[in-house]
Chain length 132, copies 4
C-alpha cells in the first residue's frame, strides 16, 4: 500500500473514533499479514493492542471479516478449533479485509477498544478510503 | 506504587490466606501490567504461579476484574476468543483491578491456589489497603 | 502521549526518511514499552519491523539509547548477555529515549531500514518534536 | 523455603538497597528454579525485571553464582553458547546460590537495577539471612 493511502486510512479511523468519543487501537496489515501501521489512542485499554492486531490478522489470513470467521471458528461452528490456529484468531467483529476498488485484496484492518459494533464501524470508515 | 503500599498489600493478602489456612500465590502488577511484587506461599501448587500472574494481567489489560472478563471472553460470551489474546487471559475470578481511594487505576492483583471464592476474598483484602 | 504529539512524531520521522530517500519502519512505545504508533513505509524490508520495535523496546526498558546500551550488552561489554534478556534487546543504534522538554521520560522510538546513522538521525528528528 | 525466611530475605535486600539509595528488582527462586518471591522497587527500570529473574535462574540451574557462570558461558569462555541455553542465562554478576547453614541448596536470588557490584552486595545481604 502506498504511504499516502496507509496514512489516509489511519487518519480516517482515528477521526471517526474521535467523533464517536471512543478510544481504540487501529492495526493495518498488508496482504501477507505483516504490520503496516498502528495507532493506539491515548487512554485505550492495553488489552486492545493485541486484540486489534489479531482481528486484522484473522481477516488477512482467511480473507474474511472476523465477524464472519466467528461463524465457523467457534465451539458451535463447523470448524471448531480453527480459532486456535495461526497463533490464535479473533472470533468476533472488528477485523475487515481491505480491498481496492477493483476487488484486489490489499490487506486487513483491525479495530479494538470500543464496543464490537463501534469497532466494526470505525474499521469500515478506513476500508472505504480504498474504494474512493 | 510506593514500596510501602506494595509491601502492605502483599502482607495483607498473605495474612488472610494464613488465617483461612490456604496456600496461594499473590501477584501484583502495575497499571501497565509489569510485575511489582509476587509471593508463593510454601506448599502452593506450582500451577498457581502462572494462574495468579494471568489473573492479574487480565485485570490490568482490560481494567476489569477477571470474574467480569469471564462473561465476555468465553465460548458463550459476546467476544469468544478474547480470552486467547494477550498471551492468554483468565476467564475466572481472582484477578482484581487495584484502585486508589480516588478511583485512579494503580494496577492489578491476582491470587491463585485456593478455591476461586477464597482467591477473590484474599485479593479483595489486599485491594482494600489502597482505599484505607 | 497525546494523540497529536504521537502523530506529529510519526509524521516528522516519515517526512525525514522521504527527504533522505530511504525506506524505514518507525516504532513508538510508551514509557512502559507498550506500542503507541507504528509505520512501515512502502518497500521497507520486512526484517526491519521487529528491529524497529526492539530498538524502541531497548530504549524504553533500560532508559538509554540503544547505541549506549550496545556498550554494556555486548560480548566485550561489562554485562554480556544483557542483550539476550527481555526477549532480546538491540545492541546498535536507532532506538532513542523520548523525553519531554522538562526531562520526563515519555517513551521511546525505534527506526530501522536505512543505515544505522540514518536510522538514528530520523529517530532524532521525531524526538525533537517533544522538545519544541 | 518457609514463608518467614522468604520474607526476611526479601526485606533484607530491600532495606540494603534503600540504604544504598538505589532502585532494584529482587527475585527469589526455589531450588527447582520456580518463583518464590519478587519485588520491584518503585522507579526501577523495567528491563531489570527480566534481568533479576535470569540472574537467579542462572544460579539455580547451574548451582553457581552468575559471576562465576560468566567465566565459562562467554565468547571467550570454555563453553561459549552455554549462555544461550535454558532460555538465556546471565553472564554477569548479581545472581547467587542460596544455601542453608549446612550447605544445602535452597534456591537462588537475583538482583538487578543498580551497578553489578551493588547488585551482588544486595543479593549477598539476603543470602546471609539463611546462614544466621
Amino acid at each position: 500500500m502506498q504511504d499516502t493511502i496507509t496514512t489516509a486510512m489511519l487518519n480516517a479511523a482515528h477521526a471517526e473514533a474521535q467523533r464517536m468519543g471512543v478510544k481504540v487501537c487501529i492495526s493495518i496489515l498488508d496482504a501477507a499479514a505483516w504490520p503496516v501501521a498502528f495507532l493506539r489512542m491515548e487512554g485505550t485499554i492495553l488489552g486492545a493492542i493485541d486484540v486489534a492486531n489479531k482481528k486484522a490478522r484473522t481477516a488477512a489470513l482467511f480473507q474474511m471479516d472476523s465477524a464472519d470467521f466467528a461463524k465457523i471458528g467457534h465451539p458451535n461452528g463447523a470448524a471448531y478449533t480453527l480459532e486456535n490456529t495461526n497463533g490464535g484468531m479473533a472470533s468476533f467483529g472488528g477485523g475487515l479485509v481491505l480491498k481496492a476498488a477493483d476487488g484486489t485484496v490489499m490487506g486487513a484492518i483491525g479495530v479494538s477498544g470500543a464496543s464490537t459494533e463501534q469497532d466494526i464501524a470505525i474499521a469500515q470508515i478506513a476500508a472505504n478510503v480504498l474504494k474512493a
